[in-house]
């Protein structure tokens, strides 16, 4: 599209008719004003001898004031066209943060989500009547919640019917995709996160942060639960609030048929906001299959978020041995320094014999074209990666992280900007994965999962593991190992879309009592609430169970209203691309200046309007 074409499409073309219309009126006015000044002369004796062109008045030679007024008309027309286009054809995307933290109660009694919905509805109704809206919710993924291009009242109606989810939000990537989509003139975001100043300067993005009193917010939540040998449970508890509080931690366990065991385990603990508390329950001597762990103590009126006070855990342990395919030994990779896992170096030939659910590290080795186990691929060789991904040529020099998906578990407890990466092999992520870390050179980390397991690919070296010598890389390594190992003793999955073994049947909630999860794909199910899911594997001897929880410190820590982290470098050019509307006020300003000049000229000459 040419510059002219783009500028024209950015205006309301029908209002541009004001320019020629105004010009015609001006010409008529000037001609009429000349006609109104009828001059009586003595005789036409000499006038008849003038050239016919002069007496026919076919020529129109207006004075400078005519051009001044024509410029004013044209500029006002352009300004009106621009402003009208700004308001009339504006397509607005309304994004409501529907993550877990939006369920938090406010002192007024309502939830943050209700406040956000109320503000968004009011904004949509008050907007210019011809604006068109599309409503989205952003939690684990961006979901469209209404038809495209609906009116303000219809958008308000759609917003009232929305419900929050129990998932952590992926708001950053949602905003990024909408801003770069190009289908919307503005993106309005309603969230409990803060908006950084730089982000608010983008003309097409408006972030409305729900006002919260973080100082008075109190919440206690279970950060993680793991089963220990001999039937004990390890519970990690977090708390935020103005003062220490006493809480009661209890575990209700059940056998495989769902019958509660008689032995109860409980403990009264002192919670401190300063640091998370890890409590060991049990051991429970009676055999149990799964447990429900809950923390209670803060009164219901005090606590802002209750749904994160309960967690589920299963007792079956598939072990946590991670296989390593690498030209280096585990010692050279620093793996013995990592606690909680056992590492076993294997050859690539042994891969097909691995059982489902196994985890493998491919260090500087090409993974097989089709994954059969959860894999962490570190610095794969340059070339095709499989599943349509690829690895670029290694580049030396320090690469800085420009964009990241902050809510992904791989980046938990991590500040990506502190990553110091000297050698990079830029990645093109496989289809099943998404970009987790990106730099100006390309993607640095990809992560995803499918029916065979989880996949993490890093384009930079994370070994040897040296602990505190390079803490940021070490935390990332631990997160990656934890994520691919899918430690069954903590929780086998998070609420949301979950993948069960291929051919799983009879998928149902074992606890709590809830409708069966909705199947979304061949082996993908929508796990909407935390609990124990039972299913029968294809050809398996006995039903298996898996626990699903909502472990998200980012969401449960209600006092930490972190800012959105959309990379300005990637968004701003797109936002600027649709900026010609900003010309409208300048057109109007210039028009008013010209008008002032015209008035000044008349005033200085002390002549009446229109007088000569």
């Amino acid at each position: 599209m040419t510059i002219f074409g783009f500028a024209f499409s950015a205006l309301a073309p029908w209002l541009l008719l004001g320019a020629p219309l105004g010009a015609a009126i001006l010409v008529w006015a000037y001609r009429y004003r000349g006609t109104a000044n009828e001059v009586v002369i003595s005789t036409f004796l000499l006038v008849r001898r003038l050239p016919e062109l002069m007496t026919a008045r076919k020529r129109f030679s207006p004075p400078p004031q005519f051009w001044l007024e024509l410029a004013i008309v044209a500029l006002l027309s352009l300004a009106a066209a621009g402003i009208s286009a700004m308001q009339a054809g504006e397509k607005i995307a309304i994004v409501l943060d529907s993550s877990l933290s939006m369920l938090a109660k406010e002192p007024s009694g309502g939830t943050r989500f209700e406040s956000a919905a109320r503000i968004a509805s009011a904004d949509a109704v008050q907007r210019f009547a011809r604006s068109r809206f599309t409503v989205f919710t952003a939690a684990a993924s961006l979901q469209r919640a209404s038809e495209s291009g609906i009116s303000g009242p219809a958008a308000a109606l759609a917003i009232r019917g929305l419900k929050p989810t129990l998932s952590p939000d992926r708001l950053d990537s949602a905003i990024y995709s909408l801003l770069n989509d190009g289908s919307y003139d503005s993106v309005w975001v309603y969230t409990d996160k803060a908006a950084p100043e730089g982000l608010m300067s983008l003309a097409k993005l408006k972030v409305t942060s729900i006002p919260t009193d973080t100082g008075a917010t109190r919440n206690a939540w279970i950060r993680s639960v793991s089963s220990l040998p001999a039937g004990a449970l390890s519970v990690d508890i977090g708390v935020v609030g103005p003062a220490p509080a006493t809480a009661r931690l209890t575990a209700d366990c059940f056998d495989s048929s769902g019958v509660p065991v008689r032995e109860h385990s409980g403990k009264t603990i002192q919670l401190s906001p300063a640091s998370p508390t890890t409590v060991q329950l049990g051991p429970i001597r009676e055999p149990w299959s799964y447990c429900s762990v809950s923390v209670q103590g803060l009164s219901a009126g005090e606590e802002s978020l209750l749904v994160d006070n309960e967690a589920w855990v299963t007792s079956d342990s598939a072990g946590s041995t991670i296989r390593v395919v690498s030209p280096l030994t585990p010692d050279e990779l620093g793996l013995p320094r990592i606690q909680g896992y056992s590492f076993e170096r294997i050859s690539p030939e042994a891969l097909p014999s691995l059982s489902a659910g196994a985890a493998v590290i491919f260090h500087r080795t090409a993974p097989p074209p089709e994954l059969t186990a959860s894999s962490l691929v570190v610095m794969p060789p340059t070339g095709p990666l499989g599943l349509s991904g690829s690895v670029g040529i290694e580049a030396s020099g320090t690469a800085s992280v420009t964009r990241w998906s902050s809510s992904h578990p791989l980046l938990q407890y991590l500040n990506p900007t502190l990553l110091s990466i000297s050698r990079v092999r830029p990645l093109r992520c496989p289809e099943l994965s998404q970009q987790i870390l990106s730099s100006s050179a390309g993607d640095l980390v990809c992560a995803g999962e499918d029916r065979s397991g989880r996949l993490v690919v890093t384009g930079f070296e994370i070994f040897p593991f040296d602990g505190l010598l390079s803490p940021t890389v070490s935390i990332f390594t631990l997160n990656a190992l934890k994520w691919i190992a899918q430690v069954p003793s903590t929780a086998s999955g998070a609420v949301g879309p979950a993948t069960l073994p291929e051919g799983a049947t009879n998928v149902r909630y074992l606890a709590p009592s809830a409708p069966p999860p909705e199947q979304q794909g061949d082996s993908t199910f929508d796990i909407s609430t935390p609990g124990i899911i039972a299913f029968s594997p294809q050809g398996g001897p006995a039903p298996q169970i898996r626990a699903f929880n909502i472990f998200s410190d980012e969401e449960s820590n209600l006092s930490d209203t972190e800012s959105l982290s959309v990379s300005l470098a990637s968004v701003e050019p797109q936002a600027r691309a649709r900026a010609p509307f900003a010309c409208a006020p300048w057109f109007a300003l210039i028009a008013w200046l010209l008008l002032a000049i015209d008035i000044a000229r008349r005033a200085i000459r002390a002549s009446a309007w229109g007088a000569r």
Binding site: T35, I41, S42, L50, P51, M54, K58, S61
Partner: protein, 298 residues
């Protein structure tokens, strides 16, 4: 019309000067074609029966034995005819400055003439009947006549005139040839201008033509700065548009100058004194200025 004392003082210093002699009506201050008993010797002629013997030059008779009679130049007054163009181009209310200037020049010339006991006749072409004023006491009635003519002519309803015919009619009323002062804008075809002037020249008069132009005549559209205007012909009422730019103004100025030069050339060839004045500013001042340009009053 009221003349200020200052104007009257200025006018008192003027006198009518003729380029040739006429037969006068009464004794006056101008050399007459009549020979008689004046103070200045003119010629001798043979005594004829009936001549008064008192005028025989007896000294000459003694020397030459011839009876010769001495004749002297008579000094008589000169009839001053003032002809004002009363057509629409002079009397239209929008062009009134031309009429005002013409009437002021007429009044001034009349004042000077009457002060020298020259009879003054004002003839307004298309106007009221032309009276004759004989003495300085008649200046009051003369100005009243001009005012009456102004009231009669300077109205929107006035009709256009056949100027050559009106001029011939006025010329027939001339009884004593004298000085004829014609005040007109002469913005009509050259043939008509020649007819008007010829009508009075045919009466053996010393003709002075004074062209009185207005500002809109001199510069098309006057001070207007509009790009286009509508102009109306004061004579016919015809209306048409006009592109009023520098080029059209310049072309009009050339045409006016060409027309005026043709009239001037004609006047020079026929011993008619031609003067062109522009009605700009106060008519009294412009009138005094016009008198000095004419060369008729010294």
């Amino acid at each position: 019309m009221q003349l200020s004392p200052e104007t009257l003082r200025l006018l008192s210093a003027f006198a009518l000067r003729t380029r040739r002699s006429f037969y006068g009506i009464r004794q006056g201050s101008h050399r007459s074609q009549r020979r008689g008993h004046g103070m200045e010797f003119a010629e001798f002629r043979n005594y004829e029966l009936g001549d008064n013997p008192r005028y025989i030059d007896w000294n000459l008779f003694a020397r030459s034995d011839k009876l010769l009679v001495k004749r002297y130049l008579e000094e008589e007054n000169v009839a001053l005819y003032i002809v004002i163009d009363g057509s629409r181009s002079m009397t239209h209310p929008s062009l009134r400055e031309k009429w005002d200037l013409a009437s002021h020049i007429s009044a001034f010339a009349s004042f000077i003439g009457l002060a020298n006991k020259d009879p003054v006749t004002i003839s307004v072409l298309g106007g009221p009947h032309s009276p004759r004023f004989w003495s300085g006491k008649a200046f009051g009635p003369l100005t009243s006549f001009l005012s009456e003519a102004t009231t009669m002519l300077v109205t929107p309803e006035a009709q256009s005139l056949n100027l050559p015919e009106e001029a011939r009619r006025a010329a027939t009323r001339v009884t004593f040839p004298g000085i004829c002062l014609i005040l007109s804008d002469f913005l009509y075809p050259l043939e008509q201008v020649i007819s008007v002037l010829g009508a009075f020249r045919a009466r053996n008069m010393e003709v002075h033509a004074v062209q009185v132009l207005g500002k809109t005549d001199q510069s098309l559209g006057g001070d207007l700065r509009s790009s286009g205007i509508t102009i109306a012909d004061s004579e016919t009422g015809e209306v048409r548009g006009l592109s009023l730019d520098t080029e059209s103004r310049a072309t009009y100025a050339e045409l006016l100058n060409e027309h005026t030069e043709k009239i001037r050339e004609h006047c020079r060839a026929h011993r008619v004194q031609f003067t062109s004045v522009v009605a700009d500013g106060a008519p009294a001042d412009a009138g005094i200025s016009a008198l000095t340009q004419m060369g008729l009053f010294v």
